[in-house]
């Protein structure tokens, strides 16, 4: 048996953990001939990979047609969405049971479950192929997509936020509406730089570095004091974070925030998904994850009950619900992790992308260039 990383090409591989439906849900990996992953996204049980050649590959559960492959059967191997091939895919966002896609030309497509209008197509009929959302034209200049549990969001280069889908808990931030089947703008009078849809709550960051949250108010996941929860249907400033916020990620019951100096977490932590230890299982007050304070974090991702962080050194830390092996910490013996733990599998890799979903995690990583003294390792 050779070293497992000896197999991975220099251009890297997508590593899969947890219930991906790929490789019988065992930890596995795949890569592309003459192409590399540029963007990963995970929904509840389905996953998307966008490549440098602007192709979209999908796999996983497909009960709602969320893979956009023209059927509803589970797909256990990354499969190119042929119907989109004439268009160049730039980004994808997997929600609980639907998928959004942005093309280089600036079109936004949607497929999958649509019971709350989360496809943005003006109705509530599910689609098993990608349909273009006519609302968006190249003029919108979309740069980010996010999808939650029956919610969708698109953010433009100039900081305009568009949302659609389920608003029963105020999770798309439109105060007086139950749900919308076409994109609506959420305007707080400031340009927005980042958006994240969780299962039943959402958050965004303004260009001046403020964090706003909205949606289901339980268990502290909005990071707001009790007296503000009555207004949970409207985006509200999370005042408990003193520094400039860069990114936010929302899971099922928790929220993780990357600032210029630290990573904050709040909400539910009963499985360790806050990374705040074995004594704090819920907090509405944003708390710094002290264990990784000496690391420079560059990207954060939340699954339903777990969290992953990428460092500037190309390492990945995971924590939270360890079931199904989704933390990437073993093949058959698992446990919840209450503090960030480095995935040792990637010590010899540079991690470039990570995406956490309901029961799975995808990591794109490439082998580190051999350092002196290790050059004969594989020979």
């Amino acid at each position: 048996m050779g070293e497992p990383e000896a197999l991975v090409p220099d251009s890297g591989a997508v590593f899969t953990f947890g219930k991906t439906k790929f490789a019988e849900n065992m930890p596995s990996k795949f890569w592309f001939k003459n192409d590399i992953p540029m963007y990963l996204s995970c929904g509840d049980e389905h996953s998307a990979v966008v490549t440098g050649n602007n192709k979209l590959y999908m796999f996983g559960s497909n009960n709602w047609g969320q893979l956009g492959l023209g059927s509803k059967s589970t797909v256990n191997k990354p499969t190119c969405v042929k119907a989109l091939k004439p268009e160049k895919v730039q980004l994808a966002a997997c929600g609980r049971n639907h998928t959004l896609v942005l093309t280089v030309e600036g079109s936004v497509y949607a497929a999958g479950g649509n019971n709350e209008g989360q496809l943005g197509l003006g109705d509530t009929e599910e689609r098993n192929t990608f349909h273009r959302i006519s609302f968006f034209t190249s003029q919108h200049n979309i740069k980010q997509l996010s999808a939650g549990s029956n919610t969708s969001a698109a953010l433009s280069e100039d900081g305009r936020l568009f949302v659609w889908g389920d608003n029963s808990e105020g999770q798309i931030g439109l105060n007086n509406i139950i749900n919308v089947c076409v994109p609506h703008q959420v305007n707080i009078g400031k340009p927005i730089s980042w958006v994240a849809c969780g299962y039943y709550h959402s958050a965004f960051v303004t260009m001046d570095g403020e964090l706003y949250t909205f949606g289901e108010s339980e268990s502290g996941k909005l990071g707001l004091p009790k007296e503000l929860l009555i207004n949970h249907r409207t985006p509200q400033l999370v005042a408990g974070i003193p520094e400039k916020v860069i990114q936010v990620a929302c899971g099922g019951g928790h929220t993780v925030v990357l600032t210029e100096k630290a990573v904050y977490a709040f909400g539910l932590g009963q499985f360790g998904q806050l990374g705040l230890g074995t004594f704090l299982f819920e907090t509405s007050e944003p708390k710094v994850i002290e264990q990784i304070k000496d690391q420079k974090i560059t990207y954060i991702s939340c699954g339903e009950n777990h969290t992953a962080l990428i460092t500037d050194k190309g390492l990945v830390y995971t924590f939270g619900d360890g079931r199904h092996g989704k933390l990437g910490l073993g093949v058959e013996n698992f446990t919840n992790q209450f503090f960030p733990i480095v995935c040792s599998e990637f010590l010899r890799f540079t991690v470039q992308l990570v995406a956490c979903g309901g029961c799975q995690t995808l990591v794109f990583a490439s082998p580190r260039i051999n350092v002196v003294g290790e050059s004969n390792f594989n020979e």
Binding site: P4, V8, V331, E332, T335
Partner: protein, 199 residues
């Protein structure tokens, strides 16, 4: 054959899938898995008001396995009234018919035992003192799981809630431990194999 030649690629999509390790997955009849899922104490249980108990872990013993592999790797804050704490600590135990005869015999003995004391897998809930210098960990509860029920029903146990009883008086239930035990196929195979040897 080299591993590289076993990689599969489809002509159309250019996706290359790394070969699965040959070690996994093992057939169900040659392994079992135990998961300590979660724990709750009854609000009226004495342990709830015991100030000395701040955090707890859970352990079990299995034949030759060191405790370091069969105790939850972390202690969690004592659950509050109505609260559950979640370990999700799962372990797969190799029951290979050639290499692990001892473990198979251990399970068979458990299935066959006349003495009720030896018929079950025992889990212990342990109080883990916060202070390093404090005295030893104290056992705060026991949980008994009859393996026979799995053999008899042919069904794995999935997230079953078992009573935690007080070490002082095993008639007093102090809470509930949720466990999963996937062993139906292995126990069936072990029982068949051992019975045949006996005949």
């Amino acid at each position: 054959t080299s591993e590289a030649s076993e990689t599969q690629a489809t002509d159309r999509d250019d996706v290359v899938v790394a070969p699965l390790s040959e070690k996994y997955p093992k057939p169900d009849s040659e392994k079992m898995s135990i998961e300590i899922v979660s724990l709750a104490f009854y609000p009226e249980a004495e342990v709830m008001s015991d100030e000395k108990v701040k955090q707890v872990y859970v352990e079990y013993r299995f034949y030759d396995l060191p405790l370091s592999e069969t105790e939850t790797p972390v202690s969690l804050r004592k659950p509050r009234a109505g609260e559950e704490i979640h370990f999700h600590f799962s372990k797969v135990i190799d029951l290979d018919p050639l290499e692990q005869q001892g473990r198979r015999q251990f399970l068979f003995d458990m299935l066959q035992a006349q003495n009720p004391e030896q018929r079950h897998l025992k889990f212990t809930v342990v109080s883990d003192p916060m202070d390093e210098e404090a005295k030893d960990c104290e056992e705060v509860g026991y949980v008994y799981l009859e393996l026979w029920q799995i053999l008899e029903s042919g069904r794995d146990i999935i997230e079953q809630e078992l009573e935690i009883v007080s070490p002082e008086d095993q008639d007093v239930a102090i809470g509930r431990l949720k466990v999963s035990l996937k062993a139906a196929a292995a126990l069936h195979s072990i029982y068949q194999e051992m019975i045949e040897d006996l005949l």
